[in-house]
Symmetry: C2
Subunit: 406 residues, 2 copies
Amino acid sequence: MIDPDRFLSDLHKLRRFGAAGVGKGVCKGVRRPAYSEPDIAARTWLAGRIEQAGLTPHFDPMGNLFGLAEGPSLLMGSHSDSQPEGGWLDGALGVIAALEVARASRESAGPPISVVSFQDEEGRFGVTTGSAVWSGHLSLDEADALTDHGGNRLQQMRSVLAERSDGFVDPARFTGFVELHIEQGPVLDQAREQIGVVSDIVGIRDMNITFSGQQNHAGTTPMHLRRDAFQGLAAFNAALNDRLRNVVTPRTVWTIGHVALHPNASSIVPGRVTFSMQWRDGDPARLARMETIIRDTIADIAGQYALETGFGPMLGLEPVAMDATLRGALEAAAEDVAPGRWRVMPSGALHDATNVARLLPVAMLFVPSIGGISHDFAEDTDETDLVAGLRVLAGAAERLGGQARA
Amino acid sequence: MIDPDRFLSDLHKLRRFGAAGVGKGVCKGVRRPAYSEPDIAARTWLAGRIEQAGLTPHFDPMGNLFGLAEGPSLLMGSHSDSQPEGGWLDGALGVIAALEVARASRESAGPPISVVSFQDEEGRFGVTTGSAVWSGHLSLDEADALTDHGGNRLQQMRSVLAERSDGFVDPARFTGFVELHIEQGPVLDQAREQIGVVSDIVGIRDMNITFSGQQNHAGTTPMHLRRDAFQGLAAFNAALNDRLRNVVTPRTVWTIGHVALHPNASSIVPGRVTFSMQWRDGDPARLARMETIIRDTIADIAGQYALETGFGPMLGLEPVAMDATLRGALEAAAEDVAPGRWRVMPSGALHDATNVARLLPVAMLFVPSIGGISHDFAEDTDETDLVAGLRVLAGAAERLGGQARA
């Protein structure tokens, strides 16, 4: 039987490593970036808790910490590193919930569950770096060459764990991977629901686009003779919003988040603008249709405004569908724990599960983020929702009986 | 009688100070910012030419260089400093043309003409700094505290001329001020006209505007829950262009030239944008109507997009109408020199004449800028147009007979 109090107690103990504030009513957030002193201390404490639970702690060369059950087992977990100024739950919730489920299952001779806390999910050095290396998406040599904003090399940072680390864990010992995470968005909170069972992790397309016109004096250049790059950007944005209307679903998102005007002076007609165009959806065909619409709209606007265009390389991550069996177990457990108060939803954010899907069947579930806030000291979730998430995770483990792989 | 060859020869001699390139077919531009070594050398050379012309050279404490005729006289000129990478004509044209008109008038016992080259028109330290101090718009103490981008103080820079400088010239000795300048815009060049007689120097309004929404994760925040500051800016731009249509004239200009998004990252819904809104027109009433429309449109968009708004201080320069008598003399001379190939037009750019208008009746005339290009090494004007400008300036001087003030 899972023990909600023990789970919450462990969650609050983990919070003390890198705590941004201590005591009642003060900020709950943490500063626990990958390989920082609080991160290493937290992993050391976690390895002890894993051992006390009867599992075998195992650090791999990246600093990913596993708690291994004997024989084939279902893997559960997330990550315990945080953003430089992060929330207390984020990945920590999924790690401690996995620990409680594995511990309780062991105590009641249930199915074998292993636990993991991946390293550097928050991307101090890359993007979901620890699970990227474990899944073979990134080689250890490539990872070693990565540096953080302070110029520190990952190779140097991971060496503090060298003494305690063994090789990489063979993924063949796991039958699947289930990750509990906070939603990091407002959907569940606004709908007053407790659980989101993830259908897929959306794919991303991201590219820089440039409009070039003619830089000119903002006093002496009449409006009809201007080739104003900012006007092109604004017109593109309006036309794109209009044209996407019949193509997107309520889950589709697109964002112009970065804009660089040149020369960016109030008295000069902008001669050039480079901006980011990012779009996300669970359907690769829709991602491709959107790309066509974006490129066509750019060409049309360039013609209308006498601008030249440039495209940076397109970065892409494919959508990852969740495994039907694992997801079915989560859905059944969700209906049990929170009848009528759960939904199937996509994950708009990346997670370690994206990488692990290269190796294993994966599934994910969300609990609400109050106000949709994350990556912020103010991030929080009601205790009843935290416990609901734990119960769904445990219920799925029971249903799967440690045999996720058909 | 004016001597076009002597005029062109002096213009090319001045170009050698700070020349960006030398020889046939190479770039004609100059690097002659205020108080730089080439600027001081050019002013020293110019003082010699002034003396040779029988005028009295006079440096004031700012480094403005006058060439004074005896008794009441009409003042002509512009500035000989340049942008860090400037064109060879810009203000230099008006200075050398004034020198030739004054010299020729003196040789033929015509009306007395004085000459001026103002200092720092290009704003290394401020905005039209030399004429601003001479006209009393800026005190010498205020000017002394100004610094350039390199941290140099104006007080230090002007001290190199201290030995040679006398006090400020009494403006009462001048009957008016006429400035010849390149257009710095495309209007005359596109119309294949030779002369623009300036009706007024347009007024400017300039302010920073901020939209604040909610910074959010670009993957997990559905479109309908976003408060995206960039979307607000783009919508404002479209609505403003639409609403201004029935208010503006073909001379009115408005520009969003500076945009700063926050946090300006491709994966984050922008929570804030600050942008510059600048508009120019010759009619103060229209400038005020445009301000009302801008503020109303901001409020409407803020309501539609759930954004908060902020306004920086509004910087303003009032429109300056040209003196009717001086302008009439320029128009008559233009019809004489370039019949059917001149027009009355506003100046969209600021000039020293804006400041001098505080002291004296002023007028201006333009010659074409090839391709509308200025503040660039590529800036140029056909020699025939340069000479046409000189002839109109001389014709106006003759008509005014040194008695511009009625």
